[in-house]
Amino acid sequence: MSDKEKFLGEFEQFVLLSILKLGENAYGSAIRILLAEAVSRDVTIGALYTTLERLEKKGLLTSKMGEVTPERGGRAKKYFTLTAQGNRALKRSKDALTNMWQGLSICNQHGVSSR
């Protein structure tokens, strides 16, 4: 695996998955709300945009400016979409986790044990 193909961090995976789930409606506020509801990660908008910018620089995301709405004070939305490279990175991380979990199960009282 080359340096560019390192595994994604946990938060990076959450962000990329949120974008996949939201589809065409993936913009900052929607991603933030989904993260808070789905995985109880109440991140600040600044932290989220820092991650989004980093993922975009890595080539895992693309962005485009959207429409201006009155409830946003006349400011445009920034929509995010996963690139093919982003999809591959997510799949690689999922496969790696699945491989690591093989042969293991979680018991309620005794923690993780091998089957």
Partner: protein
Amino acid sequence: MNSVNPIRRVGPPKLIEKFLHWSLPPELKDPVLGDLAEEYLQLVAIQPLKANYWYTRQAMCTSLQFLTKTKRGLIMFLLGILVFIGISLLAMILGGEISMYSNVPSFLMVIPPALIITIAATSKESRKNAFALLINEDLSLVKIELRAAKHVFLTFGNLSLLMGWIGVLIGAIAMASNIDDLSYFGPAFAVCILTIFYGFFIKGLCYAAESKIQFKIISQGE
């Protein structure tokens, strides 16, 4: 007669919003401010008090996160000024009582004349630009405006220094005219050179501001 209630615009705290706008990089101003305004409007309808707290927390955390990237120049400049003032104050404290460096007539001899002549010699626009350039990294001005802004600090610094020297000369003449009692020579000489101390102090601060603007001029290709 029924009184008409003025329509109150519901929006995020103005000052906090302005601070966030100032600290964000240009490409993120619209998306971040828009996202926060949108969520704020949803929250304010249910819990107005919580909405203000939520917005303030989000905006302050985000601002602090981006300040070190977008306002690095300003932070370093302010730090430099603080170190300059701090080291000077420390030297003054170590040199004896701080009160011996304070003399109102000497201060009046240097600052007001330098300030008035600077105002007379420069335009309002260039003075406004001069101070705006110190706090706003994104302000884009043409070279002639940058030079005019730099000239404000150059004039004020040089005039402070000049008035400081004039103060020293006046003091020296007054001392020489009353040289009969030598016991007064030491304290009189100390007060006499305070004007040049104030002059150099102001010149130091102005030189820092001048250098900051000069760097912008060089960046544009002098």
